[in-house]
């Protein structure tokens, strides 16, 4: 990898200051960024590690019953500590990558990168979560803006994400056999005021909501409610591992399975 300076601030304020330098880049758990650096796909002047900032780590419940997770919290911690509050979210976190990756990779890092095959974006979007940064709050529907693109400004840091807890939820991930990222995955969350369905891994535009399914499932939260629906293959990812038609098909299959599993 290219040479860079490495700083390890202990507060959000110091991290934001460090990120103000030209070509500085934040380092979460590094599980995606470090391989990219090895391939020399990025050349930051300074890498600002967020690994020593205690204030952005942890899982708790707020007064509204939302699960609040610090941006620097690892997937393994979410899998353990969110299980009692939001089992579907914890289960999703417990299947990202592999155990060693889950011990380093973080919620904030995943969301900031917004890989089109990542798991967290589906959970955040389906849960209608709020992404909180050092400067503002961003609704999930506004946050994701296409493959590897988000609403984050330069130097803006995800400090926390607040997840409303649905009445029922489930995440179904069909893995790409090599990377074990999602070939296609669906997060279904049923709230009192309706159902949200978020799909990752499938679209060239990154994570998206399948609104037709949401409407049908809001009327009847059963797999059968999807019977007449289909997802257009247009805009779906076409690669070695699946055609657009295959991915479109998987969206429907996995949504049905998620509904059945959520009960």
């Amino acid at each position: 990898m290219y040479a860079f300076d490495f700083v390890r601030p202990t507060s959000v304020a110091d991290a934001v200051a460090a990120l103000g330098e030209a070509d500085a880049q934040a380092l979460g758990g590094g599980q995606t960024l470090i391989p990219a650096l090895k391939q020399r796909l990025a050349s930051p002047s300074t890498l600002v590690s967020l690994g020593a900032i205690a204030e952005i780590r942890g899982v708790c419940l707020d007064d509204d019953g939302r699960v609040c997770i610090g941006g620097g919290t690892t997937h393994a911690t979410v899998a353990r500590q969110a299980a009692a509050h939001y089992p579907a979210l914890a289960a999703m976190a417990g299947r990202i990558g592999d155990p060693a990756v889950r011990n380093r990779g973080t919620l904030g890092g995943s969301l900031a990168n917004n890989d089109p095959s990542a798991c967290y974006p589906a959970a955040v979007l389906a849960s209608n979560a709020t992404v909180i940064t050092n400067t503002r709050r961003i609704a999930a529907d506004d946050y994701f803006q296409g493959m590897f693109t988000t609403a984050l400004e330069e130097g803006e840091l995800i400090t926390e994400v607040r997840f409303p807890v649905p009445q029922a939820a489930n995440y179904q991930k069909f893995v790409q056999p090599a990377s074990r990222f999602a070939l296609t995955a669906v997060f279904v969350a049923r709230f009192a005021d309706g159902v949200r369905v978020a799909v990752t891994g499938a679209s060239e535009e990154g994570v998206f909501r399948w609104t037709e399914a949401e409407a049908a499932l809001s009327d009847s939260f059963t797999p059968g409610a999807l019977a007449a629906l289909s997802v257009p293959a247009d805009g779906m990812i076409d690669d070695l591992h699946g055609t657009p038609e295959y991915r479109a098909h998987l969206v429907r299959v996995l949504t049905g399975r998620a509904v059945a599993a959520a009960g």
Binding site: R8, D98, P99, V101, S179
Partner: protein, 160 residues
């Protein structure tokens, strides 16, 4: 260059490193602990798994400076000082859980982390936990058996 300090296998160590120095480079090149291997550059093969503060970590996918102050355990620290193999290491030998030996350090370190979290895993749990450790030689059969045996569960011994 910046000074980084940590404890490796219980021994305090410190050295000047570059920002881009990975933990695995610090261990292999800096400390001469060449038991931790590098088998890929996309953080998938798991030959480099060590424990950082008790948790399985891919040493090729974490910077040395992010381990400042950490407690790091590597394959070299697994056997007793007199050379007696740990129960997991011994199970790998008894059950022929290794062939070329290249993935083995990572396998043993992942197995140790698994049994720490889940002392009596099922076969399926062992296989799932090894998602980030690739072996090309054994077909995993005897690795899974070795880990089940190391957990104290009855498994027919390969070496008999």
């Amino acid at each position: 260059m910046t000074k980084v300090s940590m404890r490796v296998n219980g021994r305090p160590v410190s050295a000047e490193v570059e920002g881009r120095t990975l933990l695995v480079q610090f261990l292999r090149e800096g400390l001469g602990l060449t038991g931790t291997h590098v088998g890929c550059d996309t953080a998938q093969c798991g030959a480099c798994v060590v424990h950082v503060d008790g948790r399985a970590t891919k040493a090729c996918n974490v910077f040395a400076m992010d381990c400042d102050g950490a407690e790091v355990a590597t394959i070299e620290g697994m056997a007793a000082p007199d050379g007696t193999l740990s129960p997991i290491q011994q199970a790998f030998q008894d059950h022929h859980g290794l062939q070329c030996g290249f993935c083995t350090p990572g396998m043993v370190m992942s197995a140790a982390a698994l049994l720490d979290e889940n002392p009596r895993p099922t076969e399926a749990e062992v296989r799932e936990y090894l998602e980030g450790n690739i072996c090309r030689c054994t077909g995993y059969h005897n690795i899974v058996k070795a880990i089940l045996a190391a957990s104290g569960q009855p498994v027919a011994v390969a070496a008999e």
